[in-house]
């Protein structure tokens, strides 16, 4: 049978954000994938050049709605490096706690969405209900549920008090039992095992050569984590384990993330108990000396990289962001080859894509050669005609 081309997206119920995939299929198998980005480009880097360093903290937060703290932290670390500021230790601990909370809420969100793609609506509801508990804590600490506005150049803006610590401990215990329950469900439930085991294979060799990052790489057995490799904030003072699985499939990605929730809870507990007293913020000057710096942060989805170049004024001369989804996109294309059409949404959800994150960097090149795109009706008509001829 002749290979077919099926356009998938930019608007599709299986996708949360606009991205277009051109699948070449033979019968039910995908034999080639071409992703096409460019539907939610917002020009954030350019806007950043017209605003001051302090105002850009809020802009950095809005690159991604889910890993907002990771982006803001990465940006502030870069500017602090340029300024040569030493952040107070207590602020570093608070940053660590916030970053881990964000990881927990992101992984719960992801678990829910992946369950939804599998058609397991109950798990989706459960995971999102438990996510509310984390969001409640985040709101209590920062005053916001999503764009926290916690980190700033020179420290953090709000402190964690004694009463808050108590409430956090209580919620963490609840979340830990829930995470263990989900681990149990995901290793035993037949629906989940059928939809995840052996699907979307990414071999360790491919993961390295295609520069996969974060949980996607860790599910292929590659132990790479910026928190351990190049500790930032207070990660050098907190003991933790880098979680890896060797399954290389969607199931391993699920297990990596659930285990990371448990590990994050341990990190938060340790950080809360060993948090030193002191100031949480030092003043930073508006003008940033000339120079350039990069900073890396392990966002929930993977490695996050910010580059800032300053020309000595109060506005950045250049600001560049590399979000984890962009790094994982090539690996995703590799994973998708060979899967059934019905498994496409699960595999795409498996890397935890955040298209709006990736959309600042890719230039869309659609000139190549003329392609014939089948619309739904065309495909349907073709199929009918093809069967009538036989």
């Amino acid at each position: 049978m002749k290979p077919f081309k099926i356009p998938f997206g930019p608007q599709h119920p299986g996708l949360e954000e606009p991205i277009n995939f051109m699948f070449e299929v033979e019968d039910e198998r995908v034999i080639d994938v071409k992703p096409r980005l460019g539907y939610v480009h917002r020009g954030i880097e350019k806007i950043g050049e017209s605003r001051t360093f302090h105002q850009n903290v809020y802009l950095a937060e809005r690159i991604c709605g889910i890993c907002s703290f990771a982006h803001a932290l990465c940006y502030t670390q870069t500017v602090e490096e340029l300024l040569g500021i030493d952040v107070p230790l207590r602020a570093k601990f608070i940053r660590t706690i916030m970053a881990e909370m964000e990881r927990i809420q992101n992984h719960y969100l992801w678990l829910g969405l992946t369950a939804k793609e599998m058609g397991f609506e109950t798990l989706f509801m459960y995971a999102w209900r438990d996510r509310e508990a984390v969001l409640g804590i985040l709101e209590m600490i920062s005053g916001k549920r999503v764009n926290y506005g916690m980190t700033t150049i020179g420290g953090v803006r709000r402190d964690i008090t004694e009463e808050m610590t108590e409430r956090i401990e209580k919620v963490l215990t609840h979340l830990e039992t829930r995470a263990k329950y989900y681990k149990n469900v995901c290793t035993r439930d037949r629906t989940i095992l059928k939809r995840t085991v052996g699907i979307g294979i990414l071999k360790p060799r491919d993961a390295v050569s295609l520069c996969a990052v974060g949980p996607t790489a860790r599910a292929s057995g590659i132990s790479e984590d910026i928190r351990a490799d190049e500790p930032y904030a207070a990660y050098s003072e907190v003991p933790f384990r880098v979680i890896t699985y060797r399954g290389c499939d969607v199931a391993s990605r699920v297990y990596v993330r659930i285990d990371e929730i448990v590990e994050s809870i341990k990190i938060i507990r340790h950080a809360l108990r060993n948090m030193p007293k002191g100031i949480i913020r030092v003043t930073a000057s508006q003008r940033v000396p000339e120079g350039e710096a990069i900073s890396r942060v392990e966002a929930p989805r993977g490695e996050n990289l910010h580059y800032v170049k300053s020309d000595g004024g109060d506005k950045p001369a250049r600001w560049k962001v590399r979000a984890p989804t962009l790094a994982n996109l090539l690996a995703l294309c590799k994973m998708l080859i060979g899967v059934n059409i019905a498994d496409i949404p699960v595999v795409i959800a498996g890397i935890d894509p955040c298209i709006a994150c990736a959309e600042r960097i890719v230039t869309v090149d659609s000139k190549t050669r003329k392609q014939r795109v089948w619309s739904g009706t065309e495909l349907w008509r073709y199929a009918n005609e093809w069967y009538q001829k036989r």
């Binding site: 605003r51 302090h54 105002q55 850009n56 903290v57 809020y58 802009l59 809005r62 209900r129 509310e132 709101e139 209590m140 600490i141 920062s142 005053g143 916001k144 764009n147 506005g149 803006r157 709000r158």
Partner: protein, 116 residues
Amino acid sequence: MRNLLEKPSTLRFPYERMEPVERMRAKVSWQIDKCIGCSLCVKVCPSAAIKLIGRGRKAEIEYNVGRCIFCGECVEICPTQTIFTTKEYELTFTRTRQMVTRFRRTKKKRKASSKK
């Protein structure tokens, strides 16, 4: 089965509402008579939601909720504690101009300014 007996996790919104938390940042407001017109809030605002009309102690503030991202930087930077956060979070409007609030000085001061 246990879930059948539990209360729902959601609120029945129009009848029940979320209690705002203590640190919540929502719409900001001005006690405009305390304002000295230093324009620090205008400079610090990341989304250009604040406009200063006039100068010095006669200055008035035009605040656009539609542009505001509720970061609370203006509240922190204000040297005279003129700006404060309210807990008003249901901010829906039908007209664009309803989003813009002009904080005017009380009459006594306005008279003084008009004489000049």
